[in-house]
Amino acid sequence: MKIEIVVFLNILYLKVEITVILFYILGAIAIASAVGTVASKHPVVSAVSLVLHFFMLAGMYLTLQAQFVSIMQILVYAGAIMVLVIFVIMLLNLGDEEKLKENINVRKLIALSMGAVLIFQLTIIALATSSDLTQMSISAINNGTVEAIGQTMFTKYIFHFEAISLLLLVAIIGALMLARRKKPEEIQEGATEL
């Protein structure tokens, strides 16, 4: 499954493989859409740019030869989780975040400076340290297939797999209990508590 297409950049006289070009394109769009998710005023715009971000990450997994993870990223994140988020946004009928403007300045400043420090730590230091892992392992070609992942998941990690299924069951029951419409007398009790 190695991508054999080689692109010639005639201006630079460089031979570059398409996975390298795709890394930069997908990475740039991924960062832009992540910023859009965090910075946009309206929740729907955030959700749509997050879907774009998930698609870019799915492409990034393809450049890493992880085909099954890539498809699951689209199915589970862009398909299931984001539909849930958008459904809740529509259900709540929210407006823009505008009435909180006066009390955010100091907190936002501190948060942004802490974020800048975090970006420095995670990005610059990751780039400054050099490892010998400059090229992908040749066995990565076969590691991303459904067969290989199933082989690992259902032998070595079978207990974790069962534990995850229990977690999902608990989550379903918990979500049902939380989102269930209360009977009138229960709402009365809740109101007096608050």
Partner: protein, 106 residues
């Protein structure tokens, strides 16, 4: 010499992953809308997934890709529970802004 696939170095993937993680952290710290805070948490989970897959491919070992599935399952459970909490909160307080939810604040 081991045979390899040509690609950008591992550090580039890790740096991208760290950058997206930091953007998610900034989102959690600065935004007040509970749903956008959720989406920022999803951003952080996804950036960790990216570094897991990158390590998995560069080391030639697919345990990392199995972990990605577990992270996805936990993220799905977290989204279902979290959005149910937001819905329940909206029914009681008519708001999703975490500033206005100060019942447990002394």
């Amino acid at each position: 010499m081991m045979e390899t696939i040509h690609s950008v170095p591992l550090e580039y993937y890790l740096a991208l992953s760290g950058f997206i993680f930091a953007i998610g952290v900034i989102g959690v710290l600065t935004r007040r809308n509970a749903i956008i805070i959720f989406m920022s948490i999803e951003l952080m989970l996804n950036s960790v997934n990216l570094s897991l897959v990158a390590f998995s491919s560069f080391l030639g070992n697919n345990d990392g890709q199995v972990f990605v599935f577990f992270v996805m399952a936990v993220a799905a459970a977290e989204a279902a529970i979290g959005l149910a909490i937001v819905l329940a909160l909206f029914r009681i307080k008519k708001t999703v802004y975490v500033d206005e939810v100060n019942l447990l604040k002394w």
